[in-house]
């Protein structure tokens, strides 16, 4: 390996088989395999893996990891508040909000006057369940590109919630079943529904319970929630039921009366994607930046150099280069599989039901 040199950022922040490695601090950011020391940006399973000896993250992310990986030891966990600086080896690390899910953070790395920001997953829209993305000017900005194609431009989330409520007016006797990722999307959709005036209980799949409880404990009020499985069939007519994507088109959903199947995800922007999932009511609600926001963020952060980690890197790199950035793809393995990871498999569904047909490698949209 080349000698680390602050003038060449790729010499001190580099890709190893385990993940993105920060040499002068001897730690990894969001490693895909167990390592000695990990900095974890947020709790989604493709970023927060089990088995690391020491983990540094926000207290919310640590709580999410503890809930998801009860087998991990409680030792070696260090919570860092947003903005608080800590020294790891020769590197100064700060976590600043990424606006993606509760506790999500960008890792701001500084070494000998050079600043690299690893933004993890982020969005720029208002989200009542987490702190908003903070712009940190830097020398190198490491960005995701989940929705890195110009066809992905998310509409206002409030309008998508209005679509759901309108459907409930047209089909008042049908259960509206909404597919949501268990961490983040579920709680955001719940909050958006509350903001739109939906005060009735929301029924949830068992796999969402623990994280909803955790959000409430962390100070995000969600209003009345009830387990969907315990509800009488008549009670669910005209009700909203939230379940993980893998459950919406499977046997679990049979208990519901003639459900309208909805799904809240940025992928719903593209019709073919929605159809593959058997979705009748696609709701374009995303926890990732859309194309315009990815590009606006590059402008605001104003880093001369941009590394693109996962999603549609090719298009974002092409466009960023055309706009004068030094941009390149950084192939880090393991990101973008939130929906298919074991941590997401709903416990109420038999193991045979692991969603092999779920769109693979797309990440939590």
């Amino acid at each position: 390996m080349k000698t680390p040199d602050p003038r060449r950022p790729e010499s001190w922040v580099c890709v190893r088989p385990q993940g993105l490695y920060v040499a002068p601090g001897d730690f990894y950011v969001d490693p895909a395999r167990p390592v000695e020391r990990a900095v974890v940006t947020h709790g989604h399973a493709d970023h927060a893996r089990p088995g690391h000896a020491r983990v540094l993250a926000t207290k919310e992310t640590l709580a999410i990891m503890a809930a998801r990986y009860p087998g991990d030891p409680a030792t070696g966990r260090q919570a860092l508040a947003y903005g608080e600086a800590v020294r790891l080896g020769e590197v100064t690390l700060r976590l600043v909000p990424a606006g993606h899910v509760l506790g999500s953070a960008q890792a701001v790395l500084e070494w000998r006057g050079c600043r690299v920001v690893v933004s993890g997953d982020y969005k720029r829209r208002r989200d009542p369940t987490c702190a908003p993305f903070e712009v940190v000017p830097c020398d190198v900005f490491v960005t995701e590109a989940t929705f890195g194609l110009p066809v992905f431009r998310h509409p206002e989330a409030a309008g998508e919630i209005a679509k759901l409520l309108h459907s409930l007016e047209v089909f008042p006797e049908r259960t509206h079943l909404v597919g949501v990722y268990a961490l983040g999307k579920a709680q955001r959709v719940i909050c958006l529904l509350r903001e739109a005036g939906w005060e009735r209980p929301l029924y949830i799949h068992g796999a969402l319970q623990a994280l909803c409880d955790l959000y409430e404990a962390q100070g995000v009020p969600l209003g009345p929630l009830a387990p969907a499985t315990a509800a009488a069939k008549g009670e669910l007519a005209g009700a909203i039921v939230l379940a993980p994507p893998s459950a919406i088109a499977d046997r679990w959903a049979r208990r519901l009366s003639d459900p309208v199947t909805a799904m809240a995800s940025g992928w719903m922007r593209v019709r073919q994607r929605a159809r593959q999932r058997g979705v009748e009511l696609p709701l374009i609600v995303s926890d990732h930046a859309d194309w315009d926001e990815l590009n606006a963020t590059l402008d605001e952060v104003a880093a001369p150099e941009v590394w693109v980690t996962h999603g549609n890197e090719e298009a974002l790199v092409h466009h960023a280069c055309a706009r004068g950035f030094r941009a390149r793809a950084l192939s880090v393995v393991g990101f973008g599989e939130e929906d298919d990871t074991p941590g997401e498999t709903p416990p109420e569904t038999p193991p045979e039901e692991a969603p092999a047909e779920a769109t693979r490698g797309e990440g939590a949209g």
């Binding site: 194609l149 110009p150 066809v151 992905f152 431009r153 509409p155 679509k163 309108h166 459907s167 007016e169 047209v170 089909f171 088109a249 499977d250 046997r251 679990w252 959903a253 049979r254 003639d258 309208v260 199947t261 922007r269 593209v270 019709r271 073919q272 929605a274 159809r275 593959q276 058997g278 979705v279 009748e280 009511l281 696609p282 549609n312 090719e314 298009a315 092409h318 466009h319 055309a322 045979e352 092999a356 047909e357």
Partner: protein, 533 residues
């Protein structure tokens, strides 16, 4: 555009007929005039505009976007209208958002050279879903799974009327249908059907059930063959000529050969067939025989018909009733005198491509039963029994007309693939592709069925599929060759579409043979032996 776009967006994703109906009723209730009238026109008849072709749309978007990003996006999305709708670089506030009627009226009045400018302005002013709806609208063919009949059913529901009432006046109406909505909402009189070549709701037959056969007073009935074609109504009135499907859709565009033959003033009821000289001839000894249903299918749903197709698949209508002769409404007459009027009409007019569906002589119910069982000629599905004194009534009254189809054929087939259903059945593997054995002991698909079993059986089938999956392709699972389905079907015909070279008509699962070993299922050869003609 906003409400219309939201409607199309929902219709595209809603598989069930009832869901689509509800969405349309909701739209018609809330959308303003004249927008909803144009929406109705687009949903029922389609709106065609000059100069709004895909190539133009492509040129517009390529002038406004990075070609590399456009190409990658198109590759990803896979549909031009959708890609353009999503990628179009917005100019918020650039223009006022147009309403649906402004779009339709502007395009109707625009010259070819004005279209690109209009389109570009609108694309700038609209949101992605509305841009998508606009592009679908102007390139024709909404393809949202709504038939004209379904749109009219929604109107009927909106106004608390019978759909037959709407069908009856429909062809005297013009978009944007202001008078129609006024009537449906109780603000105006029922529009007059006028002198136009109007569709008249059809009289339909009910199936003759086994237990009804013995009690039927057969002497009161006329018998005809039940032709395996498409029910049509031919209308020629005041210089207008139309061919309506059973549901009142105008399908004349696909049958110029029939339209040409409507050189008279009448409304006739009959069966659309492909008829041509063949080795077997017709049941009456003529050299012309009815071609397999597949041949007729080649002629359906076409915007234009090639001369070659017209020659190879000549259309023909076999007539069995007359509703109007000139301006005279014959529907209140009993069947016997109506039939006499039809025969006299045909003898006088001698139209080309039209002939009379013959009556079948019979002296006893036993004789009829035998005729029905023997009815295995091409183009014949069984018998029709019509009461001699029945007037022509709209709808499906029970008693005056019976259809008495021959018993279906059955074959034991092996389940090969199962696909997830839609709507209520989206969690079930409910659509089954089944096969038969070849000489080489290989299974080849011979058909697909998705009904004929109870909900309980479906649960068990679904479980079986999950337990015996060998491969997955998206929503489809391939399964081990281990389950035999007894499949009933009306006929089997040669087909180039399937590897087996066969296609079944109306296949459905008649029994699930949980007991039967797959090796004992039927062979392709056996099925081939059932091909008629």
């Amino acid at each position: 555009m906003r409400l219309f776009a939201a409607l199309l967006d929902r219709l595209v994703y809603t598989p069930q007929r009832n869901g689509k109906l509800r969405l349309m009723v909701d739209y018609f209730r809330h959308a303003p005039d004249p927008d909803r009238g144009w929406a109705l026109a687009a949903l029922s008849e389609g709106l065609a505009f000059r100069g709004a072709k895909p190539a133009l749309i492509r040129a517009l978007v390529e002038a406004r976007t990075d070609p590399v990003l456009f190409r990658w996006s198109y590759d990803y999305v896979g549909d031009l209208a959708e890609t353009v709708a999503l990628i179009w670089p917005e100019r918020p506030g650039a223009n006022r958002e147009p309403s649906l009627h402004e779009v339709v009226e502007a395009l109707r009045g625009a010259g070819r050279s004005e279209v690109p400018g209009l389109l570009e302005r609108w694309l700038d002013a609209l949101e992605p879903t509305e841009r998508w709806a606009l592009l679908k609208l102007i390139t024709g063919g909404l393809r949202v799974g709504v038939s004209a009949r379904l749109a009219k059913t929604a109107l009927a529901e909106l106004g608390g009327q019978e759909v037959a009432e709407i069908e009856e006046i429909w062809h005297g109406l013009e978009p944007p249908y202001g008078a129609l909505f006024a009537w449906l909402e109780g603000r105006g009189d029922k529009p007059e059907p006028g002198e136009a070549a109007a569709f008249r709701p059809l009289m339909l037959a009910t199936p003759l059930e086994k237990q009804e056969v013995e009690a039927l007073p057969f002497a009161d009935y006329l018998a005809e063959w039940k032709w395996d074609g498409i029910r049509v109504q031919l209308v020629a009135r005041g210089g207008e000529r139309r061919i309506f499907s059973r549901t009142g859709d105008d399908i004349g565009g696909a049958f110029p050969d029939i339209l040409e033959a409507l050189d008279f003033e009448a409304t006739l009821d009959g069966e659309l067939l492909v008829v041509r000289p063949g080795p077997n001839g017709g049941p009456d000894g003529s050299p012309e025989e009815v071609a397999p249903f597949n041949d007729l299918q080649q002629r359906l749903n076409r915007k234009t018909v090639s001369a070659k197709l017209l020659q190879a698949h000549p259309a023909h209508v076999r007539l069995y009733d007359i509703l109007f002769e000139g301006a005279e409404d014959l529907r209140a007459l009993p069947l016997l005198p109506r039939r006499a009027r039809l025969e006299a009409f045909l003898a006088r007019e001698r139209p080309r491509r039209l002939d009379l569906s013959p009556l079948i002589d019979f002296a006893s119910m036993e004789e009829l039963k035998a005729l029905r069982e023997a009815a295995r000629d091409n183009g014949i599905e069984g018998l029709m029994l019509k009461r001699k004194d029945s007037p022509y009534l709209a709808g499906r009254p029970k008693g005056p007309w019976y259809k008495w189809k021959r018993d279906p054929l059955v074959a034991d087939c092996v389940l090969m693939y199962a696909q997830r259903g839609h709507g209520k059945r989206s969690s079930f593997y409910s659509d089954y592709t089944f096969g038969a054995w070849t000489e080489a002991e290989e299974l080849v698909p011979v058909g697909k069925a998705y009904f004929g079993f109870t909900d309980e059986e479906l649960k068990r089938l679904d479980k079986w599929v999950r337990d015996h999956t060998t491969e997955r392709f998206g929503p489809v699972r391939a399964v081990e060759p281990g389950l035999v389905l007894e499949v009933a079907f009306d006929a089997v015909q040669p087909s180039t579409r399937h590897k087996s070279g066969l296609a079944m008509r109306f296949p459905r699962v008649s029994r699930i043979r949980w007991d039967k070993p797959a090796e004992e299922a039927d062979r392709v050869e056996t099925l081939r032996g059932l091909v008629e003609g």
